[in-house]
Amino acid sequence: MVTSDRTRRRARRRARAFLPAVGVFLALIGLWELVTVAFGIQDYILPAPGEVISTLIDRWSDTLASATWVTAQEIVLGFGMSVAAGLLIAGGLHFSPIVRRALYPLLIGSQTVPVVVLAPILAIIFGYTLTPKIILVALICFFPVVVGTLDGLAGVDPQLVRMMRTLHGTRWSIFRRVEFPAALPSVFTGLRLAAAYTATGAVFGEYAGATDGLGNVMRQAVPQLQSGLVCAAIGLLTAMAVLLFILVSLLERILVPWTGEGNDR
């Protein structure tokens, strides 16, 4: 099959494209290990990578596993909520000029409220549950989704819309068959940004009050000078956000095959 051959070649090329990033990552880890050994840096100031990994393994079952699970739920649910809310709000702003004039200034204003201040307020309202963290993640992440979607919808070729109007296109069918698909690349730009912000939101939420989660682990480990545990938690948090980012990018490849690498004939 020509297609499977092409797919395999593309997969190999893509794998090779990751090599530089992996190389730099490994080199940084090596340098870090070297620095801690060479200068005899104390574990509580900067634990060596080996130390972090052994902490990760030792503390996995009693602390980190459940914390990762809790934070993963906050990230996934918060991200899902931000995507739903972002698309809905952007759609509303796009369809109704009145809604746009009423809501857009408020939306921008909402982004100037420091999330750090919101976190304890949400904790007071909702207690030590998952809810305030999910809301916080969604609050941080929905804005790039809204902006990406709005930008994409505003950038649709007006000629395409005119063409659809002459082809029995109603307002809704034009949105569904032309405007939304054409906006998708820009929507995904917003989604990737949002995915990168999720971890920050979850940690802010847990710092304001939580009984479990990676942010909670860090909050307790820092005053005890357990730097190895802090670094292990940071590593897990980063891995989760990167994984979400990769999943979003993969979804984009599947849903938006007509841009980017699709045109490498």
């Binding site: 109007r165 002459t166 029995h168």
Partner: protein
């Protein structure tokens, strides 16, 4: 009504302004049903604006437009198909799905729409390409998909805005010949805007000359040519004479 029934398209004193620019000024134009009118004129003379006005994408500032008796925008939009120079295919849809879009817009389920359009692909030289993406096609093929999509919309009026303007001259000659045959087998009321004099003569029953902006019709030439292939017609004496008259009308127009 009576007289209106015979009129495919009627424009009376139509004026359209964009800010200070008068694109079309007091345009009067009648195209009887099932006739094909070619409109030639220098670029920027308001030809494209005239088409947008006829098909209801825009409203005139002054004057009146009726299309098969309908004077309101939605009514005109329901009766006119519009095909611009750019093919405007949707890159995320296959050839077949692009051609079907007007049926889907009318609520025909996708599968039924494709079953209805699939048999037409052969006649448009697209057999075997139904699942291809637009970016896998040549310019000529893309334009044929665009034309198929326009015809599937099943409108009685066809407004063609330099349909082959983006094609190279060899592809263009083939496309003109092909469109001649297609229109001969499926008579429609057609307005063809072009700045290619040969194209206007080959595809129309009558050619109108439009002046520089603000656009008005300055001359109308009935086209009566012998039948035959594109090459034979172009070489015939009546064609050469008509082309000469048209070019004379256009002289100084630029």
């Amino acid at each position: 009504m009576g007289a209106d029934d015979d009129d495919g398209i009627r424009l009376v004193g139509v004026t359209r302004r964009y800010g200070d620019v008068v694109a079309v000024d007091g345009l009067d134009l009648v195209v009887p049903r099932h006739r094909r009118l070619g409109v030639v004129g220098p670029s920027g003379c308001g030809k494209s604006t005239a088409l947008s006005l006829i098909c209801g994408l825009e409203e005139p500032d002054e004057g009146r437009i009726t299309v098969l008796g309908a004077a309101d925008g939605p009514g005109r939009l329901a009766r006119c198909a519009w095909m611009p120079q750019r093919d405007l295919l949707l890159p995320w849809r296959s050839v077949l799905a692009n051609a079907c879009i007007s049926l889907e817009n009318r609520g025909v389920p996708r599968r039924a729409a494709q079953a209805r359009v699939r048999p037409l692909l052969d006649r448009f030289g697209l057999a075997g390409f139904e699942d291809a993406r637009p970016d896998e096609l040549s310019g000529g093929m893309r334009q044929r998909v665009s034309f198929l999509r326009t015809l599937v919309a099943d409108k009685e009026i066809l407004l063609l805005d330099e349909p082959f303007g983006a094609l190279d001259s060899i592809t263009r000659a083939g496309a003109q010949q092909w469109l001649r045959e297609t229109l001969a087998s499926e008579p429609r009321t057609v307005v063809l805007v072009t700045h290619d004099v040969d194209e206007a003569l080959l595809l129309s029953d009558e050619v109108a000359v439009m002046s520089r902006r603000p656009g008005r019709i300055t001359a109308r030439l009935p086209v009566d040519l012998p039948t035959g292939s594109r090459r034979e017609v172009i070489a015939s004496a009546p064609f050469v004479a008509l082309r000469d008259r048209l070019l004379a009308e256009l002289e100084g127009g630029w």
